[in-house]
Every structure is written in C-alpha cells, then in structure tokens.
C-alpha cells in the first residue's frame, strides 16, 4: 500500500511508529517475579500489622480512658486525611532527625501498617456499632468478663459484618504499596521503573506490571474470600 511512496521518500513511515517489543520483558522475568513477591510480602505485613493495630485501637477506643480515646480518634483522622506518600516521607526522611533510622523496607512496612490500621480502625468501629446492644447486655448478664465480651461477642460478629469492606481495603493496600518505591523500597513498581529506565521500553514494562497487579488483586480477593468461608461459613451452615 505504501510501496510507491516509500520509494520516493526514504523517510516515509506509517503514523504508528512505536513497535511493541515484549521479548525484552521476558528477559527480565526473574526481576519482575521478585518484585511481585516483594509487593505481596509488603502487603501481607502491612495488612496483618495494620489489623492488629486496628483491633487494639478499637478496643481502647471503646474501653480505654478519655485521653487514649482522643489520641486514637486523632490517629484515625490524621491517617485518613493525609496523603500516604507524605506519611512515608515523614517516616523515612524526618525520623532520622529524631535519631530513629529505618531502612526503606522497614519504613515501607511500618507506613503500610500504620496507614491500613487507620482505615481498618474506622471500618471495625462501624462493624462494632452494628452489633445489637442486647447481645452485650446478655453477655454481661451471663457474667462474662469485658475482654471476653469484646473478643467473643463483639469482635467476632463485627469482623464478619465488615469483612467485605476490609477485604477491599486490603486490595487498595496492595495497589497503594506501589508508592513505597519513592523511598527506595524494592517492589514491583520500583523494579518496573528501573527496568523501563534501563531498556526504554516503558509501555511494555508498564503494561506487564499493570497485568501483574491485576492478577495479584484478583488472587488476593480469592484468598480473602476463601478465608471468609473458612472462618464464618464452614460448619456453621445450620
């Protein structure tokens, strides 16, 4: 179709000049896998740490003394109303001024856990408010101690109610972990950035990274749905 023109004009090329070369991506499979595993590791640590933190915060928020309650409310509001990147920069670049030096990976995990904890506290609180008051009164009447009531009656049911919301938050955490490359932590986005800047095949690497994130997000959802089934459905059909 372009033959006659090509002969007359040696520089003629069709408009779409970018030629995709996914072979280069295949050459770097090992690095990408390493990056994806690092992302999963950061997400898992962040989610588990954040959930423990949130459970503690929710308990203290309902049962703790007034100053502690105010501190927890402030924590939740600060985390939910500031950018995650800024939180990370404070952890990584500002703490050394106070004599606390964290490695990039430590700062990343701490940042993810603190951030996830803030959101999860709010989610769990909404779940606890949804537990009928009558059950707590009944548990008290049965003579259960406050911590036992909190653990067996409140948290269990609240957790079940808010589980879908928490699961979505974990996926948001997984995708949000891409930001920690800004403080030199190694994960999928950091490795993709390095690879694309070394090979200049930006589109190929970002496409593949996006596909890996998509896969990891679906896998995370599937794993969390199985956990829900194990914890709340299996053996309780009756």
């Amino acid at each position: 179709m372009f033959g006659h023109r090509a002969r007359r004009c040696p520089h003629f090329q069709p408009r779409m000049r970018y030629v995709f070369q996914f072979g280069i991506v295949a050459d770097h499979t090992d690095e990408l896998i390493h990056g994806a595993l690092s992302t999963l590791w950061l997400t898992t640590c962040g989610a588990v740490g954040g959930l423990l933190l949130a459970t503690l915060c929710v308990f203290l928020r309902t049962a703790g003394p007034k100053p502690v309650r105010w501190a927890i409310i402030s924590y939740v509001e600060v985390i939910r109303n500031t950018p995650f990147l800024v939180q990370l920069f404070v952890l990584y670049f500002s703490l050394p001024a106070l004599g606390v030096r964290l490695y990039a990976e430590q700062a990343a995990i701490l940042g993810l856990a603190i951030s996830f904890g803030g959101y999860a506290t709010e989610i769990l609180r909404s779940g606890i408010e949804a537990v009928p008051r009558g059950q707590i009164e009944a548990a008290r009447a049965l003579g259960l101690r406050p911590f036992k009531i909190f653990r067996r009656i409140i948290v269990y049911q609240a957790f079940k109610i808010v589980y879908p919301a928490l699961a979505s938050q974990v996926v948001i955490l997984l995708l949000g972990s891409s930001i920690v490359s800004a403080i030199s932590a190694t994960e999928l986005t950091a490795i993709t950035n390095s690879l694309q800047s070394q090979t200049f095949r930006a589109f190929e690497f970002y496409f593949v990274a996006a596909a890996i994130y998509l896969g990891m997000a679906f896998a995370t959802k599937a794993v969390l749905a199985s956990l829900y089934w194990l914890m709340f459905v299996r053996g309780r059909e009756a």
Binding site: P14, S94, Q198
Partner: protein
C-alpha cells in the same frame, strides 16, 4: 459475506488515507503552522530545570527551550515530565522535542534521535566532609543514593564495588533528602546539582569526592522527525557560534561551557 469484505476494504482505504495525509505534514511544518512547539520540562533537576518562587518552570534547559521557541517564532508549551518520563513523553507524542538535560547514550539513541549537544555535565559522588571517599573503590561497604533514569544510574553501578549498597530513588528530590537525612552515606549527582545542594545546606559540609564521568546532553526528537532534527542541529550550530547557549549555561550553572563536539 460480500458486503463484509466491501466494508473492510472501505475502512482500509479510509484508514490509509488518514495515515497518509497525517504523515504528509512534517513535525516542523506542523509546529510552524500551529505556531506552537511542545517541549518537555523536567523541573526537579537544578540547575537544568527547577520551579522558581512563583512555581513557574525555570533553569538552563527551560531557557534553552524558550530560546528555541523564540527563534522558531512560535509559542512555547512546556510539557511537564518526571525524569523517567522524558523519553516516553516524546514517544507517546505528548511533546515535539525533549530538552531536559538528556545525555547522549547509545541505549537512548536506539529509541530517540539526538541533535548535536548544547551542554555538558559531569557526574560526581558527593558526601559530607567527614566521609572518607576518594575513588570508586572507597564506595565499598557504603550506601550510595542514585536517581533512576539518570546518567548516574547508567554509570555509577558500573564503577561501584560489589559490596557497595546501591539505593535507587524515583526523583532527585528524594535522593537529596536521603543524603541530607543520613539515610545514605553518599549520593551521586550532576556536578551542578551537587553544587546547588551543597550551597543550600552549608551545615552539612558536603563536598565532591570524585568525578565518575563527563557527558554531553542534547535535544531529542521522535524517530522519523528528520526535518525537525535538521532544524535543531542548524539551530545549535548557530547559537553555539554566537555564544547564546554558552551564556544560558553560564547564567544557570555558574560554570563556563566547555567546547562542544558535533556529530
């Protein structure tokens, strides 16, 4: 079936027609006709590109871009990019020319077309005065802050010993912070960036420990934009001869421009 073939044939003719008319106009023609040139602006690399007090792009590469637009007699549209996005922005058609201290390397030359260089820069390793480093071998056991998609990333890992810890950041601001907060023992920058960081933070007593390499940077265009490239080369030659480029360079870097090679 026949109708389907006809529709496809028609679609192919229309598509080919669009492609041909679009291509008949060269990049230079388009710039002159639209009276507008889009040039990349990377504003986190002092003294090449920074944001001034009013948040407007400034720096030697911004001034070079302004001079180019002025000489073409067209309006300048600065396309703000991050350091790793300089080449992708060009390839994606977001910018006509990249003027963002892109040093000329073989790898980059496989993806974009470089004009003749209009500036030079050295890569140095910087650390506080108390840190004992005088050559690449002394980096052994130390952590080095490096900015991704820069000449530092392309050269420092090659000279650093195996047990040096290379710490990569996405933008130079983070690398500077890492050096200032002590998260890394030393960092690699262009000589001017190092000077600017040292001047702004006299209490850290930063000094250049050794020069890793000296490189030349140039404007770049998308593969195939030969007319625009030819114009850029002519422009660089003229503006080098009359001293305009050297003036811009000296104004922003405080260093005299060395003789520029051509190719």
């Amino acid at each position: 079936m026949k109708r389907l073939v006809l529709i496809w044939a028609l679609a192919a003719v229309v598509a080919a027609g669009t492609i041909m008319t679009a291509n008949a106009q060269s990049a230079l023609d388009r710039i002159l006709k639209d009276k507008k040139i889009r040039i990349t602006a990377e504003v986190t690399s002092p003294p090449f590109g920074i944001l001034d007090k009013d948040g407007k792009p400034d720096g030697s590469e911004i001034a070079t871009a302004q001079q180019l637009a002025k000489d073409l007699g067209v309006e300048l549209e600065l396309v703000q990019v991050t350091s790793p996005q300089r080449i992708p922005a060009l390839l994606a058609g977001r910018a006509d020319v990249a003027i963002s201290s892109l040093s000329i390397t073989l790898d980059r030359a496989k993806t974009v077309m470089f004009a003749n260089p209009h500036g030079a820069l050295s890569i140095v390793v910087t650390a506080p005065a108390g840190t004992k480093i005088s050559s690449a071998a002394d980096l052994s056991g130390k952590s080095i802050g490096i900015t991704r998609a820069t000449l530092e990333e392309a050269t420092v890992p090659k000279v650093a010993p195996k047990d040096a810890k290379l710490v990569f950041f996405d933008d130079i601001g983070a690398t500077i912070q890492a050096l200032l907060s002590g998260q890394v023992d030393c960092a690699s920058f262009s000589a001017f960036a190092a000077k600017s960081v040292a001047d702004r933070n006299p209490d850290k007593k930063l000094e250049n420990k050794f020069t890793v390499t000296t490189a030349f940077y140039a404007a770049a265009v998308k593969p195939g934009d030969f007319d625009l490239l030819r114009f850029l080369n002519t422009w660089v030659w003229l503006r080098t001869r009359d001293g305009t480029l050297a003036q811009i360079y000296q104004k922003y870097t405080g260093v005299e421009l060395i003789a520029l090679p051509t190719f």
